[in-house]
Amino acid sequence: MNRIKHHIILEDLKEAKKVKIIVDGEEMEAYEGEMIAAALLANGRKQFRYTKKHHSPRGIFCGIGRCTDCIMTVNGVPNVRTCITPVEDGMVIETQKGVGEWKRGENGV
């Protein structure tokens, strides 16, 4: 676990409500409201997507929603910046290949 529970300057990490997310079909634990990227990193996941042409892996790069390196398919919607999107209970998160696929209609988007 690489969660920073105790810190010299900051207060102890507050125990947030735990929720379940499904990442590539596998159930993982996350804290309610934390960013998807933080939850994945805390679960030891560093690869978030693979590029279209060279299929090379990408992960967290800017951490503030600027670079789109961390995009994944979330609840069927591709290209979601996981570093600035909070987790929700039952969220379905998938590693994105290339530009992803829109599953129109299913999610009402």
Binding site: N2, R3, I4, K5, H7, I8, I9, L10, L13, E34, M35, A37, A38, L41, A42, K46, Q47, F48, S56, P57, R58, G59, I60, F61, C62, G63, I64, G65, R66, C67, D69, C83, I84, P86, V109
Partner: protein, 372 residues
């Protein structure tokens, strides 16, 4: 369509300060930020600030952030979170997307752009591997999200962000294996550099990163020495076993909205690249559009707050909320504090370059007047 007197875009130290000053004057303000929480980069700055008492020296960025939020709340400033501003039309009509789904329009009489900056990258074989990230990204994860990006970190760049984040990585329990600096001299403030030195982190000056190692994620890094022409000297390679490589090689102003609005720019490398021209009141070449903070040149949170105040006071005054005498008094106080911040070798260069921006703005105005 919504309407307001002053719209402030960006809820970092600059935007918050602008909104607070404008609201204090009595103007109706809407503050917009794309994040779920205001504060911009302030809440990840857990180090103590420099300057004098008026600059809140000795107070940590995170606590300054809390104070600003409290003030904004007490003034009843309307804050739109999760709202990304995507366009500015003529006559100051803003187009934004709320909660990634809802399109909204906001017509405002004055606009303050305080959108901040993004980190620069350098490119080397393996720079796209998971595990290579901006130093600010690592800072965001350890101090805000409270998850360590890795166990062993190599820091590229010894400027302020490089040394501050290195120290904060140590505080978070990570190991900082080394700090690599291409220049023969270290680049950060002495106080922060000394702290990292005392913690035993080795510095490699006149060195650069040659490549990141690993297939699917970072497993190591190779660095090498540079000669006085900044060329790599073969045979000087050193290999580090690290799982994270942080890049701290400067920031670039995030000025898309100013471009869209049609503001005039100038390229000033010392300020981070293309920056929108502004006058001594932070007004751009477009009447009624103001800028403040990193968007007008990379500095730090203390100066971003002062610039924000200037923008807020002037936007409010231009709508009649202050007499010109009141306005001048308030602005002069802020300008004095800004000058005091822009001291020392770093600050002086910034003061000169900021003056260059203001002078260029003035020249354009003279030119426009001649045409009229």
């Amino acid at each position: 369509m919504y309407k307001t007197s002053i719209a402030v875009i960006g809820g970092g130290p600059a935007g918050l300060s602008a909104a607070i000053e404008a609201a204090k004057a009595g103007a109706q303000v809407v503050l917009i930020d794309e994040n779920s929480r205001p504060g911009g980069q302030l809440f990840k700055q857990i180090h103590k600030f420099f300057g004098s008492k008026e600059h809140k020296a000795g107070v940590r960025g995170i606590d300054i952030g809390k104070q600003l939020l409290k003030e904004a709340q007490e003034l009843g400033i309307e804050v739109w979170l999760n709202t990304e501003v995507c366009g500015i039309e003529q006559n100051k009509l803003l187009w934004a997307v709320k909660n990634k789904t809802e399109s909204v329009q906001l017509l405002s009489e004055r606009i303050v752009l305080a959108t901040g900056a993004m980190e620069n990258s350098i490119h080397f074989p393996g720079w796209t591997l998971p595990g290579v990230m901006g130093a600010g990204a690592a800072q965001t994860f350890i101090n805000i999200h409270r998850v360590a990006p890795g166990k062993k970190v190599l820091m590229i760049g010894s400027g302020n962000v490089g040394v501050i984040v290195s120290y904060q990585l140590l505080q978070a329990g990570c190991e900082v294996t080394a700090i690599v600096e291409a220049s023969p001299r270290l680049g950060g403030y002495g106080v922060h550099t000394a702290k990292v030195c005392r913690a035993g982190v080795p510095f490699y000056t006149s060195h650069t990163i040659l490549r990141a190692l690993g297939e699917n994620k970072v497993e190591g890094a190779v660095i090498g020495r540079l000669n006085d022409k900044w060329e790599f000297i073969p045979g000087t390679e050193k290999v580090f076993e690290v799982d994270t490589i942080c890049i701290a090689t400067g920031l670039t102003p995030l000025a898309e909205l100013a471009w869209i609005a049609g503001c005039k720019f100038k390229y000033i490398p010392e300020l981070g690249g293309f920056v929108p021209l502004h006058d001594e009141n932070m007004e751009t070449t477009i009447q009624g559009i103001y800028v403040a903070g990193d968007i007008t040149g990379i500095e730090e949170a203390s100066s971003a707050m002062e610039e924000g105040r200037l923008a807020g006071i002037n936007a409010a005054a231009s709508l009649g909320f202050y007499s010109s005498k009141q306005k001048e008094k308030l602005c002069n106080e802020v300008r004095e504090r800004l000058d005091a911040l822009r001291q020392g070798p770093f600050g002086k260069m910034r003061r000169i370059k900021k003056q260059e921006l203001i002078t260029s703005r003035r020249e354009i105005r003279c030119h426009q007047q001649q045409i009229v």
